[in-house]
Symmetry: C2
Subunit: 488 residues, 2 copies
Amino acid sequence: MSGLQPGWLEHRASVLPGHTAAVFGSTRVTYAELHRRAAALGSALVYGGIRPGDRVALLAANSLEFIESVHAVPRAGAILVPLNSRLATDELEWQLRDSGARALLCHQPTWAAATKAASAAGIPALPLPLKRESPAAALRDSFVLDDVHSIIYTSGTTGRPKGAMLTFGNFWASAAASAFNLGLDPNDRWLACMPLFHVGGLSILLRSVIYGTTAVIHPAFDEAGVNRALREDGVSIVSVVSTMLQRMLDADALPYPESVRVVMVGGGPVPKPLLERALDRGLPVVQTYGLTEAASQVATITPSEAVAHLGSAGKPLITTAVRINAPEGEPGEILVAGPTITSGYWNNPEATAGALIDGWLHTGDIGRIDSEGYLYVLDRRDDLIVSGGENVYPAEVESAILAYPGIRAAAVVGLADQEWGQLVAAAIVAEPGADVAGLQSFLRERLAGFKVPRIIHEFPELPVTANGKVLRRTVRESLEGTGAAPIQ
Amino acid sequence: MSGLQPGWLEHRASVLPGHTAAVFGSTRVTYAELHRRAAALGSALVYGGIRPGDRVALLAANSLEFIESVHAVPRAGAILVPLNSRLATDELEWQLRDSGARALLCHQPTWAAATKAASAAGIPALPLPLKRESPAAALRDSFVLDDVHSIIYTSGTTGRPKGAMLTFGNFWASAAASAFNLGLDPNDRWLACMPLFHVGGLSILLRSVIYGTTAVIHPAFDEAGVNRALREDGVSIVSVVSTMLQRMLDADALPYPESVRVVMVGGGPVPKPLLERALDRGLPVVQTYGLTEAASQVATITPSEAVAHLGSAGKPLITTAVRINAPEGEPGEILVAGPTITSGYWNNPEATAGALIDGWLHTGDIGRIDSEGYLYVLDRRDDLIVSGGENVYPAEVESAILAYPGIRAAAVVGLADQEWGQLVAAAIVAEPGADVAGLQSFLRERLAGFKVPRIIHEFPELPVTANGKVLRRTVRESLEGTGAAPIQ
């Protein structure tokens, strides 16, 4: 019993039954209705054999069904495993097997991919919305903070994705720390226009229920739609990345209303001209540095600070300790600690032991902290590529390339790109006489589309360090020097 | 390291150095300044021999020195024991001894009482403000949620006070749950006009630092002063009891501004006419049921619900589970659970085992929950008397009366009183020929003034149950029947 708390959605359905919990397109759902729908789905899961501690995967685009599942799975006592709907079948199958998922919930648009992956993993795929109601089952209506809520897969630099376990306590601390930074208006509406299966989207859903506010969900990012939501639908907070902010400002020349109180921008610093344009038009940009393993936000910087500390991600949230693994003032690996931090990787004690040392998460990101305490993120996980808001880990793409006949070496890097932030590019070394024309279509079958290099260039050899490690920086310069145009 | 968090005041001094942390009279203190002052006092404590885990008691009226001490003691790694400045020397000495306090911090106005109590307990009394600065000591700048922050004494029905241990986590969960109920405006100013040594006042101080908002402190309740603060000083939230609300409304006929967003009323339900008057004048009354062992609020009811559910304390906060130890719908003891609940009583495993059973705190209060989930508090701890916002436990007063020569029996009850809520009254049985004229002055030396009965009436015998327990209800009726006037 110690540490036990009432379920968040159960609480909200009790105290704010008629308040809007979520808006998706023209549909709005109250807390009472969301609670009823989650209970129905939770009962179906229990009726279908799901038991406490089981993992239940979810493959769904942004939808009300996604939101229901997020609350239904814990009510059945199970752990949610949200899957990236852009992954290839092989990748989905691997995550289903690694998490030991007992079932895969899937929504109509992802039905074909889901049945394929589920059948490969030997588990049932359950279509949403449910066709018929099950008898009401006994559902969990309380939890302890240390219970695992979700497992979210995040690719490592060294190959296979790792399932970061995020507890109820991680999401709770993150919601509290964010509110104690941004304030909390009971009429807030937080817009998620990025995928809900990422920690950024999922945490908007949970935060809104914890606060008793409204989550507004868009099927995907659409600049005109976001602008309309900010101006007409009472959206007060929106989470985007820098390129999305740019597109919103480019879409028209109208100002934004005062009701927009926070534009949360993740995925890297906002360039000064863009920041100033946004402020001019009435968008209060709060830049943030976050990661899956920290249940989203780690540090934020407000508009007033951002101009004086350009490029900084600001200061840590109230719950979070940040330090740099290097002498004071010098760059080094960013370490974070506190109650928002994952308790470890599912089924992967080795990765957990490597990442969590004395309670400090070793992020792999490189940064420095200035004398006033502002954090600057210099390089994300060494060589992580962020393309259109999606993380691409070079090592994963390289190992796929190396599986192609006749490839001797490969190095994958990100090239600066105005539209996508970064573009995935590969430098390869082929055996004499090898035919590399089929490489791209080979990769398309094995990797999510956003991971497939848009630029592939052949070199006689790759630059390496004394101990044989590829010099990615030199590779990047070489690729930029080739002037190669992206493959359409 | 697991569960470690940065210090709240350290965080605020870093991210909001120039924001007003506290206002007392004409003095305002920024977060940077409060941090500096708390560090100076913390250093003095360390320099004076205070070690991690030590208890440091505090005897001070509402003041900036009180606020500094609340932050300085934990920085020295010690546990704060705030003492009720209205207690008699014997009572103070007992709490100093029971807590094993290593030192007693005291503010100028309480200096005489403090030196007397400290010397009786054989520990040093340290006067505030500090006369000179100590060399800077190494101070704690992080904590884990399970660390004990304060020990707050609360009188039991069975005699000696018990020291409820409240952890950082209890205050943290309480602050979060309250914000997720009331919302949180970064410009909030929460007025404390009741003693800071009670959980209600102390939790306003900690909540404000956690939120990064401003605590406005009055030396004592003064209706004109509170009205002025609400109208001129930007106070947005104020905590009072019902009689204070009445006095505020009686003091003048002016309306209140919209910036007053919450008037939190504790200590029992607000009568309907008073509630309606307050709403008419623009005071949004949020009634609450709380207790020391729950770090303040347990349940609240908003104005819109209060009219339809008159007399109810509302629904539990998001972190808190409440149940009634009786068949559904019937009255019984109120049990509460969740992360705001005390981990137990200091140095009193017996009281802890009696109160905390399977994680549920047995409050001793009687209540019922209706079919819609609204809590009604019917009787507080059987026979607890609440007089002018202070708790008076009959058993404690009775045992003091019984120490007077010639007293055979005593029963102490509360009589309804328009001004104070309840008036302390005693029924006594004296030996034939005993002289009870000196009883009141005898009690004044041994008890805090608010505990000394204002009405004392002699009876030939007291009504008792079959097993010899005094029937308090009958005693109350008899005392009301005597028409005895309060002793001035």
